[in-house]
Amino acid sequence: MNAARQNRFNTVAAHGALILYTLIALFPVFVIVINSFKTRKAIFREPLALPNADSFSLIGYETVLKQGDFFLYFQNSMIVTVGSLFLILLFGAMAAFALAEYRFKGNLVMGLYLALGIMIPIRIGTVAILEMMVQTGLVNTLWALILVYTAQGLPLAVFILSEFMRQVSDDLKNAGRIDGLSEYRIFFRLVLPLVRPAMATVAVFNMIPIWNDLWFPLILAPAEEVKTLTLGSQVFIGQFVTDWNAVLSALSLAILPVMALYVIFSRQLIRGITSGAVK
């Protein structure tokens, strides 16, 4: 900020608001993490207290690691999330490039059709999707989930990316054409690097709902060997007894991979390489 426009009160107020928001947003996560390190009694006696020598216990983590195959669940969630994101970004960007770059009959109609998916929740079609998966023999495979999540993520991806691709300089693409680059190389080498921030946004937007989804894993892939982490955690929640230590530990662990993915994508959000390409 420029010194002439700096004002102590504004700075304090802005930071105050941001800190307050951060606290509110992080509070539930904080409670989950501290309680995952406490004994069951301590969780219920003083839910907000930090674990001390008396109440500290790793019983939750032990249960999680012993019972069920948590590493497999992790792996399944990871495969599904990363696989879906890859396909969403690849096909979303390609469709967006076509819509933004080429004049063809029905361009506008095609764009609207693809955007329609943003407004209609995919869960409405669950029964039809399940029937399709049964008929194609994809039930209880990770492919079922990857395909469904890709379909779910594409509309928003196409919508956001095509908007950004329109902003990529025409001159740059034309320079590539005159130098003899193929349309694929223009897309992958010239355009994609310039819309990286938008790609990262799309990835972050899609990642969390896919990672946390319970609905489709429960319906399409409930078998032990393809369970995702969210579904796997449900074994600790019973109708009459819930193993809170285990649930909290499982949730604490589930945060880590998403955080890692987020860090990877958010680095891309930083612009920089784009400057200097065109004025």
Binding site: D171, L172, R177, G180, L181, G276, A277
Partner: protein, 336 residues
């Protein structure tokens, strides 16, 4: 040999006709400038020649080959863009070499041509930098270098100086003129700036609304415009048009007099009041409102002490005036 021949070229986007029946030839080694107001189709015409747009009708012939269905990279052209359009992820060297690599030229040829271009454009110090580390003028030189290394039959420039500041624009203009002399290659240059057109061109093509208004050398167009549009477009300050003229002109027509052909004289045929004075040092522009309430610009060489609000009497030589009819076409009948 002709470098480029356009025959009946038309281009429409949907129902909008952007280019209407363009016929044009560019001779080998000629520097041709397309000039016209924005939206006149000059950039579209360049893109049709480059192959970035398809002509709706007509043929484009480059160096003796009809290229209508040949992709841009194989047309033997190179293009310099207004926004430089350098590849952001490549160094200056690789930016220049990419086109040659795509043509599968041997490494030694690429090396030799790039170093020649680097020398010609004085880019040696920046050869390993990325475009983002260069200034605007340097970027434009790299873009020109990228065109040179391909040794094309035809250079295409799309308003290459528009993004540069005034001083740099003049320097780069001179560099481009020198480049043309050195390479003696055929070049087509699009601009809306008439100074660039007048100073660079062997031949100017004035376009308006997708039509060619007039083709000729800069002085031909200046001294002998075919119609009121060309007369008004070339020359700065622009030509004055009087509908209530002291000479006989066609009905609803106009009399055109260039600002430098008007002079203040006692007893002149045009009387008016000075409404504004622009002092540029080297010359002085007077804005005059005539007795018939028409606006005139007078260009006086050197410095002048005339003040705003003064009455002034102006005159001109009859042979320096142009008459235009009601359709804005030039009329060659004797005045008066």
């Amino acid at each position: 040999m002709t470098a480029l021949t356009l025959t009946n070229v038309c281009k429409s986007f949907g129902s909008v006709e952007v280019l209407k029946d363009i016929n044009l030839t560019v001779e080998e080694g000629e520097f041709v400038v397309f000039v016209g107001p924005s939206g006149c189709g000059k950039s579209t015409l360049l893109r049709v020649i480059a192959g970035l747009e398809d002509a709706t009708k007509g043929t484009v012939n480059i160096g003796g080959t009809v290229v209508n269905s040949i992709p841009p990279a194989k047309r033997g052209i190179a293009m310099v863009f207004q926004s430089y359009a350098l590849y952001p992820h490549l160094s200056v060297r690789d930016n220049m070499a990419l086109g040659l690599k795509q043509e599968k030229q041997p490494k030694s040829v690429i090396e030799e041509r790039v170093s020649k271009a680097v020398q010609m454009l004085d880019l040696g110090a920046y050869i390993d930098r990325r475009p983002s580390d260069l200034s605007g003028g340097q970027r434009q030189r790299v873009a020109i270098g990228r065109a040179i290394v391909r040794e094309p039959k035809l250079f295409l420039f799309d308003e290459p100086l528009s993004n540069l500041d005034a001083a740099l624009r003049m320097n780069t203009r001179i560099e481009i003129a020198e480049l043309h002399r050195k390479l003696s290659a055929s070049m087509i240059y699009v601009t809306h700036d008439q100074t660039e057109a007048m100073t660079l061109a062997d031949k100017i093509v004035v376009l308006r609304d997708g039509r060619v208004e007039q083709v000729g050398s800069p002085m031909e167009l200046y001294n002998n415009p075919a119609n009121q549009f060309v007369a008004g477009f070339l020359g700065s300050p622009a030509m004055n048009f009087l509908s209530k003229a002291p000479l006989s002109i066609p009905k609803n027509g106009a009399l055109g007099i260039r600002p430098e052909h008007l002079r203040a004289t006692k007893g002149g045929r045009i009387k008016g009041t000075v409404t504004h004075v622009e002092r540029l040092g080297g010359d002085t522009n007077l804005l005059v409102s005539t007795a018939q309430k028409e606006a005139l610009t007078v260009r006086i060489f050197g410095q002048d002490e005339t003040r705003v609000g003064e009455e002034i009497e102006l005159d001109f030589d009859d042979h320096a005036a142009f008459a235009f009819d009601h359709e804005k076409q030039r009329v060659f009948a004797d005045h008066g």
